[in-house]
Subunit: 285 residues, 4 copies
């Protein structure tokens, strides 16, 4: 990985910290993101936000442009979803993260969302990466299903070298032979990436496990391994989720998860900050 | 794979055949494509074309927009490369295939090339796939490094369902644990895909093996397995190739490879047609 | 792989050829082995032998000690199965191959069978490999499900270095992420192994594919790739097979498979010899 | 996995707890095992024991019969190594764990060691598993490099169904495509196995990572995920280790690792018990 000039740690380079809403990612505080796989309705997202703001989580996630294996599956609410995300962000004070799948979507999404996510399938969509290098919003870059660490770091390098220094890496499980879990969460990669890069690293235990009963233990493991935060799928009615229902936590379980992470965070001298408490906002009805 | 409506075989649907130059892909004739990883110069491509036209190969390949792991590696000649490809096509009569990495490149590439290739990294770049569904040129869709057969077929379905029926699949090796070969050529996938879809299937033994000394045997195996053709990297001076030098054949070896495939083709009642003999063209200097 | 002293090709070392019954493995002739996953009865094995002797195949296979994932599954007929194998060998003239799972079984099996097979799960059972190095019968060593080529060659080296020079390698598919086929047949490994070792290499397309409809095409591909032979599962009543029923060919299909391989063999200057015709034997009833 | 009768959790079956020396594996206390890859000398093992007894670790590990990829690599001290292990156990009070590779070694090893380990390569050496089912010592069963969870549980079932109820599972990394770490530690498997079986589960971060700088973070992650203990390679002079030197911790780092696990253990209501304090023993010279 000798050719990565910007993503790798050097003696003179301190760890990258990225301000997102009230939160700072990559410092002592953890950055916990919760929300559904897909934005389905205003009611759904408000239920999520109102319950999670005091969990607390530090940001909300929700897909509005959905990369789906089949062209006949639900492709996301698009612009309507972005409007829902922005409205919920404004009421809750929680920054929102959503996936960008195409260069043509960047301007629109960047005008609504606080963080733009690049999904696993697009980790080496270099056209998209270069364009995101010219965007003034932090990027959450998910590892490809069969990406080596070198390829992952170099994908970040595409964004960094095109001008955007605010990249968060996200390990979300790699493809393997066993079918019991959906993918294999590679925490060794998280540990290694923390040692070789200066970028913050989040973990998505939901897509890794693919089964909600495995998410909490893997979340605690990820934090103990040194991850800077989590991206967890949860839903007001998990079984009714239009996508990835099998891995979504209930909101109660999501709150319990955050609680259960706190002592682990303390054990390694990290902390879970208040979510959006300093931001004035309307109360939820 | 029950949801794929257009890519899967049905009783009433015959095998898709695609006319490319003088060749028909997906019929009795094999479709053998040769050429360098990257278009480097006019001289290079003319050397390739003049030697391979009588091999014969049925088309030329050459990258002008290159997906590279590192942003600092050679990214291809771009428009200049397209002009070289078109010039060489016009002189040799051989159709040319090149990779498209971005929606913004489609119009330009489609105005020069005969077939647009989607690389492994973009197999699930759904934005690109949808746009290629609206193009009036055949598409060569390479399997992702960790794509299941369902995901591969569904990626083709994205193109088909957006209006372009001329899709060729290409197996090019999947990621595995062994480092002796670059990837693992999955001929079981080729056999299975021929049984479940009606689309032509090519094999790229060069990227699978990653070592030139393995290419010829794998090429013969691919044809014996039932592949409709091959995509083989070769170069006038393999060791000087700007990319993937380790896997490129010399032009002499490429000609010998075609010769060695002929008896295998005969053994399974297929044939290697003349390359571009019926097309009037200028002689090479 | 620099430490392998005996298995690797050298200038002074010619390709190993192993005499098994009338056949010579590793020369121009192919060595095609057919038979059921498990020896189930005398009638079953005689039906197999009488149909395949004229196919011709050059040897019969059948498991009598079966490595099964579950301790509650059928573990094989044991000694009774060996007696069946020997009786069928004596009547048909076809040598028989069966798996040895334990050092304690070696003497018994070696007194009945012509070739001792080491299964994938035992490829690095070094205790067994060392003991087989002291046996006066050829060994068929199957590649482990996740064995690198180095580990595979070194496993052969354990046998060779303990005194037995007659080792055949067998590629039988490696573990991967896709579930459409049971395993991924790695013909690139076959090509590479032929280049780096002097040992004969067989291919087992049945365990690789896991589905009978894929076996014939993969068999032809294996021969075209340069394999010295095949190990194919077939059964008088495939659907009734006590193990691996999904991948077993009918005897008719097995005969057709041998026929379909002949032109491929011819195309690469190899041949399928008569099976056991020069051996006097009783006719089957 | 419906056929596993003995290994799977049932309503009436409580979690298996195994007494080893003073420790109980599978209860609230963690079971941390340290020691070198190979037993090299009496001095080496006494240095390890005297430093780790107060760390504290609850047991020592050290290989005396070594499964090595090459037959020409160091194969272990054998009986001499067992005598060293027993002597060090007697002086330190720490139980000792060592690998058994063959049925013929069982009686000898069982007369010296407190726990018999089955290595990854032998996870489906069913002959060995059945024989260990008749042994009166706990078994530490390591997951194969490409073993599914079903195969892993079923391998334990072979031991259980042959009479030995005291089986500990050990996740030690699976084979994958990335070369940065030696293997991929699959903590999702640990979480899943805790939910579906009643057997204790240990984690070996050393073989998973293959690099010592990754071991501590992965150890903390493993405990946070719910593992019942750890198996960590350490050596008085890591760089001088005859095998696996790259992944061995120094003894100082091993002591620091135990210290760093304590707050994680506390966070999930588990604890690290004193090592061998209640056992009278001679002081080390």
């Amino acid at each position: 990985m000798k050719k990565a000039k910007l993503a790798l740690k050097t003696d003179s380079l301190s760890k990258t910290q990225i301000q997102i809403g009230n939160a700072v990612v990559g410092g002592t505080d953890l950055f916990i993101v919760g929300g559904p796989c897909s934005v389905e309705s205003r009611e759904q997202m408000e239920a999520v936000a109102s319950r999670l703001v005091s969990a607390p989580v530090q940001a909300l996630r929700g897909g509005v442009y959905k990369p789906r294996t089949s062209p006949y599956d639900f492709q996301g609410l698009g612009l309507e979803g972005l409007e829902i995300l922005a409205a919920v962000r404004d009421r809750s004070g929680l920054p929102v993260i959503t996936e960008v799948m195409a260069v043509s979507q960047i301007d629109e999404i960047a005008s609504y969302a606080d963080v733009l996510q690049v999904g696993s399938r697009n980790m080496q969509n270099f056209d998209l990466l270069k364009a995101l290098g010219r965007v003034d919003k932090p990027i959450l870059l998910k590892r490809g299903l069969a990406a080596t660490l070198e390829e992952f770091v170099m994908a970040a390098e595409y964004i960094l070298s095109h001008g955007n220094p605010n990249v968060m890496l996200c390990e979300r499980g790699i493809r393997s032979f066993d079918t019991h879990t959906r993918n294999v969460l590679d925490l060794g990669a998280v540990v290694a990436l923390k040692q070789i890069t200066h970028l913050p690293i989040l973990v998505d235990p939901s897509h890794a496990a693919g089964k909600r009963e495995l998410v909490a233990d893997l979340s605690r493991a990820a934090i103990a391994a040194g991850a800077d935060g989590l991206l967890v799928e949860c839903h007001p009615e998990p079984e009714q989720s239009v996508s990835d229902a099998r891995q979504a936590l209930s909101l109660d379980d999501m709150v319990a998860l955050v609680d259960s992470i706190r002592p682990i965070a303390t054990a390694i001298n990290r902390s879970i900050p208040a979510g959006a408490t300093s931001v004035p906002r309307l109360s939820f009805v």
